[in-house]
């Protein structure tokens, strides 16, 4: 088996006295699409945010592409990395947020080229060309010079996906990408994500869309109360869940 692109071991995270993650272990293989399901408050979004260090873990470690996130082993001692090094590590991960978080003062094109040009030092003409292709891929070529405020929620989220792809990430992180959308706009975003899943991108998707998990994910991870309760192939976990809490959760979707 190829070595995993993400390794998380014994992750613990508390907000004040509230322990949200109580020991998460997870490996993700390159090109794997992992859907994380679970009730709200189960810690699944927090876990995702810990991966690119938007939240700092209290215990355990995370490794992406062979590098520990936020820390470095020096002569057998673990030392915290400076901001610049953490920024470089984050540059390997693309993130898509629940509330899109496009930069409202920039056009669609500017949003997509901002990180490649400003962080990854890609030549601007080259970045624009890549951006045009990506924007075309999410079906928004005619909105290149529109501002996010002029787009529907679904269109904004597709731009956000193009923006995340533009940095050529090793892993794509999706934090409930369709939860803030009107029901009739969910489909277009899921279609874009399904497309990406079939192209061999490594994706970790926190979602409530059971349909997406069933069709596009290689593995479903079910979280509850800060633990991974159950995981496996979608057809196993979603069709014949072993754990009572998974059963209870899924029963609401049938």
């Amino acid at each position: 088996m190829t070595s995993p692109i993400l390794r998380a071991r014994n992750l613990h995270k508390s907000f004040g006295n509230n322990e949200v993650l109580k020991g998460i272990d997870l490996d993700v293989a390159p090109s794997e699409v992992v859907a994380i399901l679970g009730p709200s408050g189960s810690g699944k979004s927090t876990f995702l945010r810990c991966i690119n260090r938007l939240e700092h873990i209290d215990k355990g470690f995370i490794e992406v592409d062979g590098e520990q996130i936020g820390y470095q082993l020096k002569n057998g001692k673990l030392v915290a990395l400076p901001n610049a090094a953490i920024a470089r590590q984050r540059g390997k991960m693309g993130m898509v947020f629940q509330s899109f978080n496009l930069f409202p003062h920039m056009t669609v094109l500017q949003n997509v080229i901002e990180a490649p040009v400003g962080v990854h030092r890609v030549n601007k003409a080259e970045a624009i060309e890549t951006a045009r292709e990506l924007i075309a891929k999410v079906g928004l070529s005619e909105k290149l010079n529109a501002y996010p405020g002029q787009l529907s929620g679904g269109q904004q989220q597709r731009v956000a996906i193009a923006r995340a792809l533009a940095i050529k990430p090793k892993i794509l992180l999706f934090d409930e990408p369709t939860s803030a959308l009107d029901p009739e706009l969910v489909g277009e975003v899921l279609a874009t994500m399904r497309d990406l899943a079939s192209q061999g991108l490594t994706m970790i998707v926190v979602t409530h869309e059971i349909g997406f998990a069933r069709e596009a994910a290689d593995r479903v991870v079910f979280m509850d109360g800060g633990y991974v309760i159950e995981q496996g192939k979608p057809e196993d976990v979603l069709v014949k869940p072993q754990h009572a809490r998974t059963q209870a959760f899924l029963s609401r979707f049938i």
Binding site: L54, R90, M93, F97, F103, P104, H105, M106, V119, I167
Partner: protein
Amino acid sequence: MKTAPLPELQDSPEDSLRDVAGAHLPLPKSKIILWVIVLLFGSDFALTVATNKNFGWPTVGQYFFNETVLQGLWVTLWLAVVSMLIGVVLGLPIAIGRMSKDPLARGLSNAYVWIFRGTPLLVQLIIWYNLSFLFPKIALKIPFGPSLVQWDANALITPITAAIIGLALNEAAYMAEIIRGGLLSVPRGQRETAEAFGMKPMRALWRIIIPQAMKTIVPPTGNQFINMIKATSLVSVIAMADLLYSVQSIYNRTFEVIPLLMVAVLWYLLITSILSYAQSHIERYYSRGDSMHAARSTSDDAKTTEEDAK
């Protein structure tokens, strides 16, 4: 599936009159009365002012482009611009310091704002001007050790340096608060997104946070600049030849106090009017990403018609 027949529309004979497209507006009687009253009182007052010999309008005209006055005007303008620029440049790090998690940065910034915002500008100007009483020598030195460079305070502090230092340091305290308010107005998710995409904090600040904060920062900053134009008149107490000082120097000679003050007032009004106009343009620029409601609603409409057609 069988569709039920639609109920027939019930018309009434008055219907042709009810089309709102042909509606008339009632005569706004109370509004017209108010207009007439205000215009009557206003024109009477304007006429009284214009014909009042005590204002000395011919003298105002005579001195409006007087060389001393124009020189004073020039001093007022560059003093305001320079002090404002320094104020903004100093205000930004102080604003960031006040929002910092680091207790040293926060403590220093808070102390700065506390002192400079908490004491009168006039007093600050006088203290800066008379700094040589407090510190005859000003030196760059190693703490508790020897000094490296040393200046004579009397030579260093002229009316100009005292005016710039006094106005700029005071302004920085106010600008820090305005900038802090602007930075706080940008949703937290924007900063997170910038960081998630690998931007370092400084880059996130310049490219993502500040451009969005400008929308909130510009209006009160315009206000501060207009205040600054007028606050420069305080430097006349430290013998700096600004606009007010210039007209004072003339009326001390000619005793035409009111006409010359009118010259200054009209110039101040003219400058601040131009600034207000410029401000409205800058505001429009920084709200470019969100004044799109018209465009948005048309595209939404287009979408609905498309869907209806299907």
